[in-house]
Symmetry: C2
Amino acid sequence: MDKKLKKIVNDKTSGSSEILFELHNHLKNEKKLITLFPEIIELTKKQFKSFQSIQKYLNDMSLFLKKRKGLEFFFEKYDQIFRKSLIGLKANAKQILNNYSSFITISNSNTLFEVLKELNQSKKKIKIFVLESRPKFEGRILAKKLSALSNIKIHLITEAMMADSVKKVDAALIGADSILATGDVINKMGSLQLALLCKEMNKPFYVVADKNKFSKSRTFSQNEMPPEEIWRHKSKNLIVQNFYFEKVDKNLITEIITD
Amino acid sequence: MDKKLKKIVNDKTSGSSEILFELHNHLKNEKKLITLFPEIIELTKKQFKSFQSIQKYLNDMSLFLKKRKGLEFFFEKYDQIFRKSLIGLKANAKQILNNYSSFITISNSNTLFEVLKELNQSKKKIKIFVLESRPKFEGRILAKKLSALSNIKIHLITEAMMADSVKKVDAALIGADSILATGDVINKMGSLQLALLCKEMNKPFYVVADKNKFSKSRTFSQNEMPPEEIWRHKSKNLIVQNFYFEKVDKNLITEIITD
């Protein structure tokens, strides 16, 4: 496996759309890797269990591989899917979110970034509170990307400041890693409390996710991640707990904006 | 100002009771510093604006200094106050919290540690979820102290995991930096959302605070702290916000356990 592919497969801070996009473009241009594709598919599926769009893409790729032809068609099909879904999603988001000027968000989602960029182009000025997203601080990545836009003001805050900041915004707006068949949304840890705080403070809570994120599954199980990412400390009766994802009940969601 | 005193005055991670206790013991034993006392009082009051017990103690000390005598009596008086209030508070806490076996808490409070130690001695086994308390990770200090006790299980978690963890405990239990005349509680950032999540999930929310923490003030103003404590990054349209304390409305508090 080449260096670039290793980097994609071990990415712990990007959202699923960004990872999928990187993977797609890499495999598309490295078709000489084709004998390794089954192995790459297996490893990547294991790494991104919570990312519905990646699972779908790889399942679809497996089908095309079985036919031993048409991989060219597969890549072209997905190029179109990605382009179309983003255009549709941005148009819908613009319509639904046009009346809001300030948002709070968590983690680093490329879909969210594209939507905010779109809003930013059509509005005078927007303000975004970005949660730092412990333990891996993906919020910083999104904050940096957003800071390249003009007419935008970004507040980078800790998760401890969440309640204080929900008070100050018009709405919450998050991406999604997967949307269950129940309508519940799987996203980065901290999303559930953001939704609960929005309910408590009467603020709308929006999710942006293209149709590729919709799953047939009705359940979600949490994987325990390395505790050292939070704190390197060993003690007999002390456990450092590290989960990346959690479920946000559909009743807490104002609307899932999709393509 | 000696090294030890400098350390006390610049402490950003201990709770108010611990800082006050350190300050008291240091000044009591360093009475040769007496000519510096007015200066020390002024500086310390400025440093710990949100800590009601420290403000009270220093105001009282100023009165004794004006009389130019009786400092011996002052220190003895406070030795007794500290001893008595802790005994009373622990007894009340034991009675009120005896039916609970698992708690979630935030930040590092010595009062809380003493209460948990007391509960730990009288109960078979208790479990504590300790929030890491960004940006300065005081939760780690409390977790380490607690891990020295036996029959206790500690889970160190990020603030992003708060909602997920409130589900798993019997009650929330926090210390306080100050209790306003309105009954609202001032405590470390993250306390408000912990209280709101407890309300949402029907979990009792307790505060432990001795009578020294009760203030005559009805208002609270937030001080902005150095952004570098959260993230060292400069960008034109990006603001890193850092507040240490916030107000928890009395309606969200099940009971303030005091002496």
